[in-house]
């Protein structure tokens, strides 16, 4: 078989398996429990309706997507700035590392939804609480990855640069930063996925008035399960698009430049 065709077929396979399992589950649940579980077809039809402008919980689907993306970008940006700064500092200043290295490790162990009471106490119900939860959850994987990336830099590269006369500033910007870029991108990739997952969950609980998580839970109360499922499909597609396509490509490109291959 032609390798590109084989690759495409393999890429489609997981989706086909999910669709098949979903269809079988929907029919079985209908048969045994008498509950109308939306099938892939019903979900797709509802999704097409929503995408062509049908209103849903007072807003269009695009408004819900937009609201979620806005919160996601805000929370993730805060996490990225803090995580990258922390990782670079901890990787280059030994005393700072000693004093703080356990903090991101501890934060990593806290599930995203466990931040709900803290977020509500600090910011009350609404946007800020959701953004805070995303930032707190996405910070740890970014910080740890960047820190590890800086620590793992080949010491010979630092020796070579200092031997050529690089001072601390040049060493930081021209060696440490570019050398830790693959770990930084990996950290951002994990952080963006983690942030997306907690965003949807937070919207379900914290109550935001618009957003994909909010829409899923509200549609469920209205017994509009097809809309709930449509939102889940949208969430999955956006997550995949960012994590795999955007960051996957950046990682692949960096790996190729460095003479390595990345399997996706």
């Amino acid at each position: 078989m032609n390798p590109p065709i084989k690759k495409t077929k393999l890429a489609i396979l997981p989706f086909l398996i999910v669709l098949a399992v979903w269809q079988i589950a929907a029919l079985s649940i209908l048969h045994y429990r008498g509950v109308a579980f939306p099938t892939p077809c019903q979900t797709l039809l509802r999704l097409v309706g929503l995408l062509t402008g049908e209103r849903f919980l007072d807003y269009s689907l695009y408004k819900h997507i937009g609201s979620s993306l806005q919160r996601w970008i805000a929370g993730f940006s805060i996490a990225a700035v803090l995580g990258i700064s922390y990782g670079l500092l901890a990787g280059s200043i030994h005393l700072f590392e000693k004093a703080t290295a356990k903090i991101p490790q501890m934060l990593l162990l806290i599930p995203g939804l466990a931040w709900i009471p803290v977020a509500l106490l600090l910011f009350g119900v609404g946007e800020s609480a959701t953004i805070f939860m995303i930032a707190m959850t996405a910070f740890a994987p970014i910080a740890i990855n960047v820190h590890t990336g800086v620590k793992d830099i080949d010491i010979r590269l630092i020796h070579a640069a200092t031997m050529l006369g690089a001072g601390r500033r040049i060493l930081f910007f021209k060696v440490l930063l570019p050398a830790s870029l693959p770990s930084l991108v990996s950290g951002l990739r994990i952080g963006i996925g983690t942030g997306w997952r907690v965003l949807v969950a937070a919207e379900m609980v914290v109550g935001t008035g618009a957003g994909l998580g909010y829409a899923i839970i509200q549609a469920r109360w209205n017994l509009d399960y097809a809309s709930s499922f449509s939102c889940i499909v949208v969430i999955c597609c956006i997550g995949l698009l960012c994590e795999q396509v955007l960051f996957g490509r950046i990682e692949q490109r960096m790996a190729e430049r460095r003479g390595r291959q990345v399997e996706h």
């Binding site: 080949d154 010979r156 590269l157 020796h159 070579a160 640069a161 200092t162 031997m163 050529l164 006369g165 690089a166 040049i170 021209k174 060696v175 570019p178 050398a179 870029l181 960096m254 190729e256 430049r257 460095r258 003479g259 390595r260």
Partner: protein
């Protein structure tokens, strides 16, 4: 001139000091001098060079360069590493230019020097490639 003055160097395994790799080594290398250090694997040849480069510090004694104690790496002393030490995120051209850029070279003089050195090494056709690709 490079001078080793009663230099000891030992490494640690955990907190325990291992037997010294170099013991009371005194040595003088004159300006423009050429010396060859021979010895079996693990006898301290690389340690000796690392001390001159300033990558490591002596456990006891002093290493001096032109009468001043060496406290770290610097552009006044160069070491050619055993393995290729290239910045993988920079092209061949950019790798050659790195040291010159640090010293403030730019524009035409920088381009000319890099081009000359690439020609000298027969790497002109590979100037835009990345080292490990």
């Amino acid at each position: 001139m490079i001078t080793f003055d009663a230099v000891y160097k030992w490494y640690y395994r955990g907190k325990a000091a291992l037997p010294p790799v170099l013991g009371e080594l005194s040595l003088a290398v004159e300006e423009g001098g050429f010396i060859c250090v021979l010895g079996s694997s693990g006898c301290g040849k690389t340690t000796l060079l690392n001390l001159v480069a300033g990558f490591i510090a002596p456990s006891r004694g002093q290493v001096l360069f032109r009468g001043k104690e060496i406290h770290g790496p610097g552009p006044d002393r160069g070491v050619v590493f055993q393995e290729a030490t290239l910045f993988p995120w920079r092209t061949v051209w950019q790798n050659v230019a790195f040291g010159l850029e640090i010293r403030g070279a730019k524009g035409q003089p920088l381009q000319k020097t890099v081009r000359q050195h690439l020609e000298l090494m027969g790497l002109t056709d590979h100037a835009d490639k990345y080292p490990y690709t």
